[in-house]
Symmetry: C2
Subunit: 152 residues, 2 copies
């Protein structure tokens, strides 16, 4: 099955200009052209774009994605490199999730804080509130989001 750039664009909800940009940056190796020079995509290129989607989601820079894609194109001799790369990415994503979880704690604290402030019609009261007067789960988020700074 062959696909044209427009179909790929619809399939992935990526603008055509972006797909061409990815190709130009070398993110889609072995992409062939028809007699007229039009890009022709096959299943393997769709798989490539799926991987690009995944790698982009974790903010991997274009040039790293390119390197990875070239390893894929080089075949079995680069399996270990690719494996190592995914294990490194796993750590990075796990760390990101943990950081976001911490951020969420901070946000939850702020949500609570402003909900109280709104009820009071002023920040003054909640600003003065001591941790022991906060609801249990908020107190935890508060310590959670402030601990880093306090340990310095």
């Amino acid at each position: 099955m062959e696909y044209r750039i427009q179909e790929i664009s619809n399939m992935f909800h990526i603008p055509i200009s972006t797909i061409r940009y990815y190709d130009k940056q070398g993110l889609i190796p072995n992409l062939e052209r028809d007699h007229a020079g039009n890009r022709i995509f096959h299943e393997n290129h769709i798989e490539t774009l799926r991987v690009i989607e995944c790698l982009k989601r974790i903010d991997m820079p274009i040039k790293d994605i390119k390197e990875f894609m070239h390893w894929v194109a080089m075949g079995d001799e680069t399996i270990t490199k690719r494996k190592d790369m995914f294990f490194r990415q796993k750590k990075i994503v796990e760390k990101k999730i943990m950081e976001l979880q911490e951020t969420l704690n901070m946000i939850d604290f702020k949500c609570w804080y402003y909900t109280v402030a709104e009820e009071d019609q002023t920040e003054e009261k909640v600003k003065q509130m001591l941790p022991q007067d906060m609801p249990q789960e908020i107190r935890q988020k508060y310590f959670n989001s402030h601990k880093k700074k306090e340990s310095k």
Copy 2:
């Protein structure tokens, strides 16, 4: 207690140039200068920078951070705006975490895939493997990370 830009830079591990940039962009309202024009930071500015750190972590653009900081500077009349903003950000971060969790599933699948490929010294065998032949938890991650595309 007063702080100079260098101390703030060390405290937050942010380059001086970046702090000046934030100030220029209006992210640190009410920052005063000494007789010589040097920026003088107080506890409230440190709190501001802590909030900036938090908002940056969730990729809030500079101009939104600026808006928020100005609401803070405006006092109690903007409490509801700020509260609403944090509730919106809460949703955004929760969504990001879910997306990253999905990405992690994809990565876990790839880690398994390349671990098998490395053992086999070739991708061929694992590439042909059917879901029912994969380990239980990998099969789930596989379906998890491929379901979106298959439902289209």
